[in-house]
């Protein structure tokens, strides 16, 4: 396996800190609205669909498939930027890791894993199943 790009450590705030604390415990969360019962990503205080403030984090299955992928070749360490469609519905931006970049394909099944960022904080990423 070639060298892997180390994710940038996210700077957090009061609104998004719980997501990153969970990620650091290797729990992958998505936003959920108790008022309209719809999942959303990225998680936020107001539901983007019904504007209720009754949102919460819920643990997701961590399963999904690749919606779109682009391997950044002209980087010091090449990496795969992707959108993954989660089993729960929302599509999220992420990286595909532990893989052969040339074999990545849209529709491919992937699962969540966690990668240490620059300061060691874990970031959810995905790998082929």
């Amino acid at each position: 396996m070639a060298q892997q790009r180390v994710p940038t450590t996210p700077t957090t705030n009061h609104e998004n800190r719980a997501f990153w604390e969970a990620a650091d415990e290797q729990q992958f969360m998505i936003g959920h609205c108790r008022a309209c019962n719809e999942p959303h990503f990225y998680p936020r205080a107001l539901c983007p669909f019904c504007f209720s403030d009754e949102t919460e984090l819920r643990q997701a299955s961590g399963e999904g498939h690749i919606y779109a992928v682009s391997v950044m070749r002209r980087a010091p360490v090449p990496y795969a930027l992707a959108y993954v469609t989660l089993a729960e519905g929302p599509v999220m931006m992420t990286n595909i890791v532990n893989c052969d970049f040339d074999a990545l394909a849209i529709g491919q099944a992937v699962e969540v894993t966690f990668q240490a960022s620059e300061d060691g904080t874990k970031v959810p990423v995905f790998q082929p199943v």
């Binding site: 990153w20 682009s70 002209r74 990286n95 990423v125």
Partner: protein, 386 residues
């Protein structure tokens, strides 16, 4: 809104592509002067001022001061590279509301000389930043995501995308100011280094210094001027985003903006004789040409292939100045040059090798921000009005 009574009376593209020995403010001054001279107006006539949020100073304040303007209307709407399309529309609206009668729209920048890149500064207050920056999204790889999805859904190929660059290079070969004047082939594009799949180096636009300016004026002012008249007959703007995770990379905001603009102009895409379409990357142009209805959705690849965009021989003349891909992309924002070339075509002042005969209806379309995450589209439809 009914058909506007606003006219583009002045248009100027700075000839420089590498502005060594000039300050940024000086470039703004030169493009403003160029547009005013083109129109036959003076800076005392300007009463409305439009710039983006990257202009030096707080909003429009420092530039209005530097240029010695006395204005009663300002606007620094910013949607990235498409902002100037919105500025033209907003200027027409301000003129219709009686807020100004001579609106100056300016853009300048020197990213090539200063080494400043197209990525915005990191601001963790941006709500999406925390959830995306860890993964390394850049301008080029987020457009790469769109291209990968378009290929998957519609069977678009790298060869088809390459034809967009080939057409731009044919046009740029006639433009003495263009950064890249050498005609390239599909093979040249495919053999250039892969930057972010499936986009090669030659699928990307140039990085250039320079800028441009436009003057949008009321009918009363336009009537007194001697230059050929170009009237704004329709405009539309739209923002598209991730929609809480219900992401759709197959369509851009140009779908909505185009519908609004064509509805206002009361014409159809088939009426358009010339189109300036934002080409930060080949895929940017391809998606807009479909979303604007200039060809069938998903069939853009076949439309642009085999010289489909080359003036005089293709299906529709597009970006006859060489576009952002070969001519100019000042300050990493290509919207204003799109409008300027459309004005040249309507005036009959494009290079004779690329001038569309009897060009009386033109469209300019801009795409700002990141088509793969959140972006703003601006469309204007212009007619020759003699």
């Amino acid at each position: 809104m009914t058909a506007s009574k606003a006219y583009i009376a002045g248009a100027f593209e700075h000839p420089t592509r590498k502005a060594e020995g000039k300050s940024l403010a000086q470039l703004y001054g030169e493009v403003a002067k160029g547009a005013l001279e083109d129109a036959g107006l003076t800076h005392h006539d300007v009463d409305g001022f439009f710039c983006d949020t990257e202009a030096p100073g707080l909003g429009p304040l420092s530039l209005v001061d530097y240029l010695g303007l006395n204005v009663r209307h300002v606007d620094n709407t910013d949607t990235g590279g498409s902002a100037y399309l919105l500025h033209v529309a907003h200027a027409a609206q301000a003129i219709a509301a009686g807020k100004c009668s001579v609106a100056l729209i300016v853009l300048a920048g020197r990213p090539r000389t200063s080494g400043q890149n197209a990525e915005p500064p990191v601001d963790w207050n941006v709500p999406d930043m925390t959830f995306e920056l860890p993964y390394g999204p850049l301008v080029v790889n987020t457009y790469g995501l769109c291209a990968s999805r378009h290929m998957y859904e519609y069977g678009t190929t790298s060869e088809q995308l390459a034809w967009i660059k080939v057409a731009a290079s044919h046009h740029a070969s006639h433009n003495p100011n263009a950064m890249l004047r050498k005609i390239v082939t599909v093979e040249d594009v495919l053999e250039s280094p892969m930057i972010s799949d499936p986009l090669h180096r030659l699928d990307c636009c140039v990085v250039s210094d320079g800028g441009g300016a436009l003057l949008v004026v009321s009918e009363e002012i336009a009537r007194e001027l001697k230059r050929p008249k170009v009237r704004l007959i329709g405009s539309g703007e739209a923002v598209k985003h991730q929609n809480g995770g219900r992401i759709d990379l197959s369509h851009s905001a140009a779908t909505e903006a185009g519908k609004i603009a064509f509805g206002e102009a009361r014409i159809t895409p088939a009426d358009i004789k010339y189109a300036s379409i934002y080409d930060s990357f080949t895929i940017t142009l391809l998606m807009q040409i479909e979303d604007l209805g200039l060809c069938q959705k998903g069939k853009g690849g076949a439309f642009v292939a085999d010289g489909g965009l080359i003036s005089g021989q293709g299906r529709l003349a597009v970006n006859t100045d060489g576009g952002g891909l070969c001519n100019n992309h000042p300050n990493n924002r290509g919207g204003i040059t799109k409008i300027i070339e459309a004005v040249r075509q309507l005036r009959g002042e494009a290079h004779s090798a690329v001038q569309v005969p009897n060009c009386d209806l033109a469209l300019a379309s801009g795409m700002g921000g990141w088509m793969g995450s959140r972006h703003g589209s601006g469309v204007v439809i212009l007619e020759r009005a003699d």
